[in-house]
């Protein structure tokens, strides 16, 4: 009997935690996107203020508190400083590395990668427009996820609890 109760508690807790995990994942995505948008806004200002890309990346890495985004910009700075690869390849490589480490969706990765098309463009206005476009797309995603988060928070949590209860009822 004790084993049955312990098993039931275990199933109940696992499914509830799974529900919470689904909700928290959305929250992580929102937070990550907010940090990326913030860093891109600084990059936009640095480009407006004609700071060379290498120094702009270094400045952002020094300002950033999130360790993954900090590392993303620091690696860009380091690679640009070594001058062994094109800026386009360096940006793409680092976006791929970042995507492996944080919760971010495929379309957001593609938006981030799109900056590589203009990263060494001669036209400052075009670069700024591209950054604005990326920021706008990410901000829309944040709004969408935020709305989703509110509505799904209860749903996933309750589903987790109910699913746990269902399993317990069926098997016991």
């Amino acid at each position: 009997m004790i084993l049955k109760i312990l098993g039931s508690i275990f199933i109940f807790l696992s499914s509830s935690l799974f529900g919470m995990y689904r909700v928290t994942k959305i929250k992580f995505k929102i937070n990550n996107l907010k940090k990326i948008v913030n860093a891109l806004e600084i990059l936009e200002s640095e480009i407006k203020f004609i700071t060379p890309l290498e120094h702009a990346a270094k400045n952002i890495s020094e300002l950033e508190t999130d360790q993954f985004i900090k590392k993303f910009f620091f690696n860009i700075y380091k690679s640009l400083n070594q001058k062994l690869n094109s800026a386009q390849n360096i940006w793409l490589e680092q976006v791929n590395l970042l995507a492996e480490k944080i919760y971010i969706e495929q379309d957001d990765i593609l938006h981030l990668k799109s900056f590589s098309h203009v990263i060494t463009n001669l036209d400052q206005d075009l670069q700024i427009s591209y950054l604005k476009k990326i920021i706008l797309a990410l901000e829309k995603k944040i709004i969408f996820l935020d709305e989703n988060y509110v509505s799904r928070k209860k749903l996933y949590f309750n589903l987790g609890i109910l699913f746990g209860l269902l399993i317990v009822i069926i098997f016991i």
Binding site: I47, I50, T51, P52, L53, E54, A56, L80, K83, S86, A87, I119, T120, N121, L122, D123, Q124, Q127
Partner: protein
């Protein structure tokens, strides 16, 4: 100098230099020209060389050809992956890199409001190598009275005007407060605002600043005794120069010209000469030597 310059060359071209160019040969290089689908041309002591498959050769038709990718990579390195940061310079057709070397660019011009907005699809890059020659102006200081005067350094392109002006700045800076408006970063070769060339202990420098704006700014803020400028070419700059002279500050600047008649007849300079605002005219010849010096009455004194 070699290491600094090679930083701006893509790996393929850099390796050719490392294989076939000795340090002594490199020191005397005046220009390196890189053009799409053409061999690299290296001008050394007024002779042209290029890279054959396993040596340097004077037969410039048989050289290894440059690709568009090589040009794009060079541009990325020249602008430190940030062409937007060099847009003002690119509009004028050149970029100044560390040590004051000037890199000329040619390609497709983009116009906006009847002005050059930028150059894209760059097809030619020309490195003009600057040589800091200390004491090249030392022997001519005796022709500048104390306190100093308003002076023009005149010569054709490549005659060493900037080198002479730089050394003059360094020497005069021992005794006078000097301000330099270095629009093309060729005098001080500033990197992140810090001059890479020795301009002496009392020199303040405004880097990448338009000359006419910089002169007024320095006059109000730095109380200079002498203002130094390179390559005057616009009427607005001449107007600012006249203001500076009238305010009692001395001015030394360089100018592209062939001879005295050339500057006497040119719209840009004839007023300065007619009003006898300039005290000395130093003429440089294409061999980078002072050829003539004239006083304000246009009498030859050297």
């Amino acid at each position: 100098m070699r290491e600094n310059l090679e930083l701006y060359l893509p790996c393929e071209i850099k390796s050719l230099f490392q294989k076939f160019v000795s340090d002594d040969f490199f020191f005397d290089i005046q220009e390196i020209r890189i053009r799409v689908n053409n061999p690299i041309i290296i001008k050394n002591k007024n002779q042209n060389f290029t890279f054959a498959s396993n040596s340097l050769t004077k037969n410039i038709f048989s050289g290894i050809k440059i690709t568009k990718k090589n040009i794009d990579q060079t541009l990325e390195l020249l602008t430190n992956y940030s062409p937007y940061a060099f847009q003002n310079q690119i509009q004028n057709g050149f970029i100044t890199i560390q040590n004051g070397h000037r890199v000329g660019l040619a390609g497709e011009i983009i116009m906006q409001d009847n002005k050059i907005k930028t150059i894209r699809n760059i097809s030619s890059i020309n490195f003009r190598i600057a040589h800091e020659i200390k004491d090249c102006a030392k022997d001519f200081i005796k022709y500048i009275s104390n306190p100093p005067e308003n002076i023009i350094i005149i010569g054709p392109p490549g005659s060493g005007k900037t080198t002479f002006l730089r050394d003059l700045t360094r020497i005069l800076s021992r005794d006078y407060k000097i301000s330099v408006v270095d629009e093309r970063s060729e005098i001080g070769a500033c990197y992140l605002g810090v001059p890479q060339n020795d301009l002496g202990p009392q020199t303040d420098i405004l880097d990448k600043c338009p000359k006419n704006l910089g002169m007024d700014m320095l006059l109000k803020t730095m109380s200079p005794e002498i203002i130094i400028l390179d390559e005057i070419s616009e009427p607005a700059e001449i107007n600012s120069i006249i203001n500076i002279i009238n305010s009692g500050v001395k001015i030394i600047f360089s100018l592209h010209a062939k001879n005295l008649d050339d500057i006497k007849n040119r719209d840009l300079t004839k007023n300065l000469i007619a009003q006898k605002l300039i005290d000395k005219y130093f003429f440089l010849n294409p061999d980078n030597k002072i050829q003539d010096i004239y006083n304000k009455n246009l009498e030859k004194i050297f």
